[in-house]
């Protein structure tokens, strides 16, 4: 159901922004061509921002805490989700939207954990947008059979640049940077760090094999975003998982 966006109760709706009629008819009445300047003064990405606001309203009304997870390909987003589901199962109802350019593999991994997941394939685009998330959220709702969600995880397409420009209507934005990627990533990808509320340094079990300067990455990240929270987590050894779960529960209840 979708009162917020007025899209009716059909689950197959697409909020097409196309005009119902073409902008002008050929061979018309024959008028005078005029040039004019239209003042707009709006964001370049207004369509995305409007749909994101709609999503946030949806989530708020349903009491769902939405989390957008952003990282480079392979930083450990899906693995972290699998471990998070293990830790929270039975206590907290989780749903997942999996962004991917082409495949269904990540959603399949999540479903194996017994959690509803919908794959959002962007068909080439390197980021999720809020319109795609809106559609995905409705199809996820459909598969819940009336069960309500506490947390909606949205795993973005593996990319540390483009996703940071697109608000999805989330309440929490988490950026993962894994140890093998190197400690210089915050300064190279400032937009991701500036727009996130939490940085997870992932794969910390590998720190002994890399010249990874933990102090430097934290210092750089905080210089870009002084209110950023930072956690160190290894999904492999479980180190730092407790802090991450505590962080989630704290956010959920505040």
């Amino acid at each position: 159901m979708c009162d917020v966006c007025g899209c009716g109760h059909s689950h197959d709706h697409s909020h097409d922004t196309k005009s119902p009629h073409p902008p002008f008819e050929k061979g018309g009445r024959g008028g005078i061509l005029q040039n004019k300047v239209v003042d707009v003064n709006q964001s370049l990405l207004k369509a995305n921002e409007d749909a994101a606001a709609g999503n946030r309203k949806h989530f708020d009304e349903d009491g769902i805490f939405a989390i957008n997870i952003i990282s480079s390909p392979g930083s450990g987003k899906t693995t972290l989700l699998e471990k998070t589901i293990d830790a929270l199962k039975g206590e907290i109802n989780i749903g997942v939207l999996e962004g991917d350019i082409e495949t269904d593999l990540d959603a399949e991994r999540i479903r194996k954990k017994g959690v509803p997941a919908v794959q959002l394939t962007t068909g080439g685009a390197c980021h999720l947008d809020s319109i795609l998330v809106h559609k995905g959220f409705h199809s996820l709702e459909h598969s819940l059979n009336g069960k309500r969600l506490d947390i909606l995880f949205i795993e973005n397409v593996g990319n540390l640049v483009c996703p940071s420009f697109f608000d999805l209507g989330e309440h929490l934005r988490v950026v993962l940077i894994s140890v093998p990627e190197g400690h210089d990533k915050p300064l190279k990808y400032p937009k991701a760090i500036k727009t996130a509320q939490l940085l997870i340094i992932s794969k910390t079990d590998l720190v002994q094999y890399f010249d990874f300067d933990m102090q430097k990455i934290k210092k750089d990240a905080l210089s870009l975003n002084p209110s950023l929270n930072i956690l160190e987590v290894s999904s492999k050894t479980g180190e730092g998982m407790d802090e991450w779960i505590k962080f989630l529960i704290h956010r959920l209840h505040r």
Partner: protein, 122 residues
């Protein structure tokens, strides 16, 4: 090259604006892009000029970009200063860490130049 993503979003916005204003053609668009927006102006121009070709409504639109400098106001001494340094700053006058960003994050369409066909009243 995330500027391509931005350019595609921009074309959608321009299409909407053009339809709302009964435009026959979009002939120009003026943007304001902050130094700290994360968008490289030249890359966006390049991307837009490629993407627009697929859209007859704006295939000849000229894009112009005004770059907006990074300006902070110090919450402690109330002075303002401009900088090129994108990472977190301290006030050059009093050393305070408490700063307010006044400009530099903009990614705005300021105006759009269109061609309309008004019905002749003669």
């Amino acid at each position: 090259m995330h500027e391509v993503s931005i350019a595609i979003g921009m074309v959608k916005e321009l299409t909407r604006i053009a339809l709302e204003n009964n435009a026959k053609k979009v002939t120009g668009v003026k943007l304001k892009i902050g130094k700290m927006s994360g968008i490289v102006a030249d890359s966006l121009i390049f991307a837009f000029d490629a993407v627009k070709l697929e859209h007859p409504l704006m295939s000849s639109a000229a894009i112009s970009i005004e770059e907006v400098p990074l300006v902070y106001e110090c919450n402690t001494c109330k002075k303002t200063f401009e900088t090129d340094n994108l990472s977190f700053q301290t006030c050059p006058f009093c050393g305070s860490y408490s700063l307010k960003l006044l400009s530099g994050e903009e990614m705005h369409i300021e105006n759009v130049e269109i061609e309309t066909e008004e019905e002749s009243h003669v």
